[in-house]
């Protein structure tokens, strides 16, 4: 009789202990005191930065790179709230500028890649989208990013320059959400980045459009002043901008960083 009664309490205690221990563990690992480098990177960099980190670790024995991917705004907010990070790679200039203004950067940020918009359509392009102008066709279910996020701002800027009024059925918070709705077939077309189309593999088709060149999005990266491993952080920033980093980024569909 006593065992089932004690069980929930034991479980609770175990969960509490484990979660507290877990938090503590993460904290020390990310501090970089034992040769770890905490890199906060925009979600769209996930696959390329995973590769870059692997290559970087191979070149720098003794340093382990801990990657954390999320929306640039989320990461910037976390860093300004004191999250232990050594490097920040943002998908837009605005969020990097926030940290710059707060004096959290070690030196200047450096643009290491660019990304251009592309139209993603479900395989076979059932709605027959062939140009940016087709997105405005009545009956076309277009999903885009909201203006408040970088991909949405880019889309709005292209629309403005071309004089085409887009009427998306949904304005998502992230490219991932846009892509998800194209993959599931809910949307006829989505405005995302070229790299997103590439990372989606065969699950979406890409319709390139020349107007995209009018709204190129630059990705800045910087070492952070508050990090515990500034030398390694600077090395990582150099590595991303260097030939090996650029090669990986190009393979993922990114354009070269503006100089």
């Amino acid at each position: 009789m006593t065992r089932p009664r004690k069980l929930p309490a034991l479980l609770l205690a175990a969960v509490l202990t484990a979660s507290l221990a877990g938090c503590a563990g993460k904290g020390t690992a990310a501090n970089g005191s034992n040769g770890t480098l905490a890199v906060f990177a925009a979600a769209s960099l996930k696959s390329s930065f995973t590769d870059i980190a692997e290559r970087f670790e191979a070149r720098h024995p003794g340093i382990a790179v801990a990657l954390s991917f999320a929306g640039s705004a989320d990461l910037a907010a976390q860093i300004s709230q004191g999250a232990p990070a050594d490097v920040f790679a943002s998908a837009d200039a605005r969020n990097m500028a926030k940290l710059q203004d707060a004096g959290l950067l070690d030196g200047e940020a450096r643009n290491f890649a660019t990304n251009t918009l592309a139209i993603a359509v479900p395989p076979g392009n059932p709605a027959g989208i062939n140009s940016f102008a087709d997105l405005a066709n009545s009956g076309t279910r277009l999903v885009a990013c909201a203006r408040q996020v970088p991909c949405g701002a880019a889309a709005a800027s292209v629309a403005e320059k071309t004089g085409i009024t887009l009427r998306p059925v949904s304005e998502e918070n992230s490219v991932t959400d846009v892509l998800g709705k194209v993959i599931s077939g809910e949307a006829d077309a989505g405005l995302v980045y070229a790299t997103d189309v590439r990372s989606a593999g065969g699950r979406v088709d890409s319709v390139p459009f020349p107007e995209a060149a009018g709204a190129v999005n630059a990705y800045p990266v910087a070492a952070l002043a508050g990090g515990g491993n500034i030398a390694a952080a600077r090395d990582f920033v150099d590595f991303v901008s260097g030939p090996e980093g650029q090669e990986i980024l190009a393979a993922a569909g990114f354009g070269p960083g503006a100089t």
Binding site: A73, V143, V169, S170, E171, S184
Partner: protein, 283 residues
């Protein structure tokens, strides 16, 4: 009141832990309230997108709470009173959205009502487009809120027992009459709390809506989605709108858990048995 109750049976250390528990909930809310930019509060919460989001949230939550009542009452009665095989399994399944991450709910709804979904083709033929519409928002909210109504009503039904119904039947009342004139009036307080709770849960619904319905001002962008979006660029607006949502949630919970001053001495339970509060899906 005469005198003071001297014995409570509460060990002293329990107060400490209880205070800690209260802090876990109250402190973050207070911290958020402290960050409100009061100078700009009114313009922030009365901006066009904010009002559109609030209006949409209220409209869809009323609709989904109504849908929860219409669908949840029969379900709760059948679960509480019906005798059929696998009723236990059915109850577990129906209550699943209580513990399911809302985004999972959104994905599930997508594969049901989406264009390529289970019913999507049929609905499309009928000319019904659910995805990216306000209907999708209401469906997502109903999906996550229905268990709240069912749990609180089923609790009321079980506590009340079936004796009144049995007496009514022997007095000549058909099952329909018993349901209308005895069962429903007896559980009315439980039903009211359940409806209010499901309204509150609908108001806070986020994940399933984002996944399933999308986000467009005035159509699918409810207040939680607006908050999530504002946070990208305007944290002040996000905080101000969060405070509005907290205020609405507090009012709703107070309404649901108030000590009722009922005229009738109803022995049926008046408290919802679901201890979960609203707003679970707000980031």
């Amino acid at each position: 009141m005469t005198g003071h109750q001297a014995y409570t049976g509460i060990p002293r250390w329990l107060y400490g832990l209880a205070a800690l528990a209260a802090l876990v909930v109250v402190l973050p809310l207070a911290a958020m309230a402290a960050r409100v930019n009061w100078a700009n509060f009114l313009p922030l919460v009365t901006s066009e997108p904010a009002l559109a989001a609030l209006g949409l949230s209220l409209r869809t939550s009323v609709a989904s709470a109504g849908l929860c009542v219409v669908l949840g009452v029969p379900l709760a009665v059948v679960l509480a009173r019906g005798r059929f095989p696998l009723s236990g399994l059915l109850r577990s399944l129906v209550l699943l959205p209580l513990v399911l991450p809302p985004v999972v709910g959104g994905i599930a709804l997508l594969y049901t009502f989406g264009r390529q979904g289970l019913l999507g083709g049929t609905l499309e033929v009928l000319g019904l487009r659910i995805a990216f519409s306000t209907t999708a928002v209401i469906l997502a909210q109903t999906f996550v809120a229905l268990p709240f109504l069912v749990v609180s009503l089923e609790g009321a039904l079980r506590t009340g027992g079936q004796r009144y119904e049995a007496v009514a039947a022997t007095l000549g009342a058909s099952p329909g009459t018993v349901f209308r004139r005895v069962t429903v009036p007896l559980v009315l307080p439980g039903l009211a709390s359940g409806a209010v709770l499901s309204f509150a849960r609908s108001l806070g619904e986020f994940g399933a809506t984002l996944t399933f319905a999308g986000s467009l001002q005035g159509v699918t962008r409810t207040l939680p989605l607006e908050i999530y979006l504002q946070r990208e660029t305007d944290p002040d607006a996000a905080v101000a709108l969060s405070l509005v949502l907290v205020a609405v949630a507090v009012a709703v919970v107070a309404l649901a858990y108030r000590r009722p001053a009922r005229p009738a001495g109803n022995k049926a339970t008046t408290r919802p048995t679901a201890a979960a509060g609203p707003g679970g899906g707000v980031t």
